[in-house]
Amino acid sequence: MATTPTREVARRVFAGEFNDATYTFKESDDERAPVYLLLPTGERANRVFLVGTLMETEDVGDDSEYWQGQVIDPNGDRYYMYAGQYQPDAASMLRELEPPAYISVVGKPRTYETDDGEVNVSIRPESITEVDAATRDRWVVETAERTLERIGRYKDGTAEDGDATVDEYVAMAAEEYDLPIEDYRRQVVEALESLEDDEAVAAEPDA
């Protein structure tokens, strides 16, 4: 059983934080070693799981089909995903789905450096499924929880009087990024508040 590689956890991260994550690294020199995206809150991500509203789909390929999908999270931030011939299932979902639709996506983070040196972050989907609003709401709460846990760990690790055993990835994030962690906490609050607004609307049939 030692030969079975441990499957990577799919991280939960809102689009605002995901798109800020421009630093990638490997844990070994092996050519096939997994590439990790470093989240600004101090966690490595080799896979993500997200549920949101598919807003736009477009075939951006030249010779063969290459589908782009844009998925929006409760804060209005967008995830960008690309699926071509090597992701046939995901590509056919993007071809067939009619936006807007709630979808869940399992995929690998990818970074791409543009000509002017800017790093774009996107997702290469492994699977895309159409889901209902309850699944999406559940994901929002779960992602809020996971993000808060990361923020808590980040704050403990970077506090001036903090103890010496700082998490490896928290230290790496503090080193590689200069980003206001407070923004991610605010995104959590706003995402959760949007759910409460929905409930308030649902509770008032006349509204």
Partner: protein, 311 residues
């Protein structure tokens, strides 16, 4: 203390009530075998022990155990590695040993649950049988990735007991998003040979070659909660319950499409990316699903919001 001296002291302790021997006597015998006749220490120890057993007119299983001073524990009590314990239970499962060094490996259970056990080939111990109850004295606990096991060794005393034990269930309940349905899911064919249920690859069994397979349904899935992943396995019944697709219907679907993979494709489209809670016993790294519940109710955002505002 030298290794010889340590071993001699241990052997001496086992016989001091029965025989008038000193630690020096024992060490001298060991020394002759090891240093003069180049016998490996473990063999030397066995030989010397046997000699004293003969002299004392004792059986091997009268050693250890009683005088071992070990704690007698139950399965659920095992919570640290490298402890010498005595434990009583039933061999509930024997698995295929995947190394020549392992004579037997499987699950050992009592009222409080089950635990993996390993018996090494070099320990030269009697065969354990599935369904029998044993008292195992002088086993060592071990831990791997948070899971505990017990290891039998050369000094372990195995006593078969004529009693029955109600083995407690150690079902686990895990929840998360179903992020993958792995290959080998959906409509599969199994080898029809007796006691071989291997899944066929392109009509071939790894063990028996080309065979006329028997259809079965299963799902090998991955539940992920953003912190941990759990591999879960649905058998035919659990798969039918979850998907509403019976084995017969799956065969019809495959027949219409001239392709068995349509079944797994339909299951993926229907199930992936949604949240579930599953309950069942664990087998190796899998949770074997007895019960499954789709988590479709919206989660409670209020508590998380309070926390988010407070940090």
């Amino acid at each position: 203390m030298t290794d010889l001296r340590t071993q001699a002291t241990e052997i001496h302790e086992q016989f001091e009530d029965q025989l008038e021997i000193s630690v020096d006597d024992v060490e001298e015998r060991l020394d002759t075998l090891v240093n003069e006749y180049k016998v490996p220490l473990s063999e030397a120890r066995r030989s010397v022990t046997n000699t004293y057993l003969d002299e004392a007119g004792m059986e091997r299983d009268e050693l250890g155990g009683g005088g071992s001073g070990n704690d007698r524990v139950q399965v659920a009590d095992v919570d640290a590695p490298e402890e010498w314990v005595d434990i009583k239970g039933e061999v509930t499962e024997l698995w295929e040993a995947n190394s020549d060094a392992v004579a037997q490996v499987g699950l050992f259970g009592d009222e409080t649950g089950t635990i993996k056990f390993t018996k090494w080939s070099k320990s030269d111990l009697p065969e354990l049988e599935e369904g029998n109850v044993y008292d195992l004295r002088n086993v060592v606990t071990d831990e791997y990735e948070g899971r505990f096991s017990v290891k039998l060794n050369r000094t372990t005393v195995i006593e078969e007991l004529d009693e029955e034990i109600e083995v407690g269930d150690d079902d686990v309940s895990v929840e998360g998003a179903l992020v993958d349905i792995q290959s080998g899911s959906g409509l599969i064919k199994r080898c029809p040979e007796e006691d071989c249920t291997r899944v066929l690859q392109n009509g071939r069994c790894n063990e028996h070659g080309e065979v006329e397979g028997e259809f079965d349904l299963r799902i090998k899935g991955v539940l992920d909660d953003g912190e941990e992943v759990h591999e879960i396995l649905f058998n035919q019944e659990a798969t039918e319950n979850l998907t509403g697709i019976t084995l017969e219907e799956a065969q019809e679907m495959a027949m219409d499409a001239l392709d068995t993979s349509v079944v797994a494709d339909e299951m993926r489209a229907d199930l992936l990316g949604k949240y579930y809670r599953v309950t069942g016993p664990t087998f190796r790294r899998y949770v074997l699903v007895d019960e499954v519940e789709r988590l479709s109710e919206p989660a409670d955002a209020e508590a998380v919001l309070i926390k988010a505002r407070s940090i």
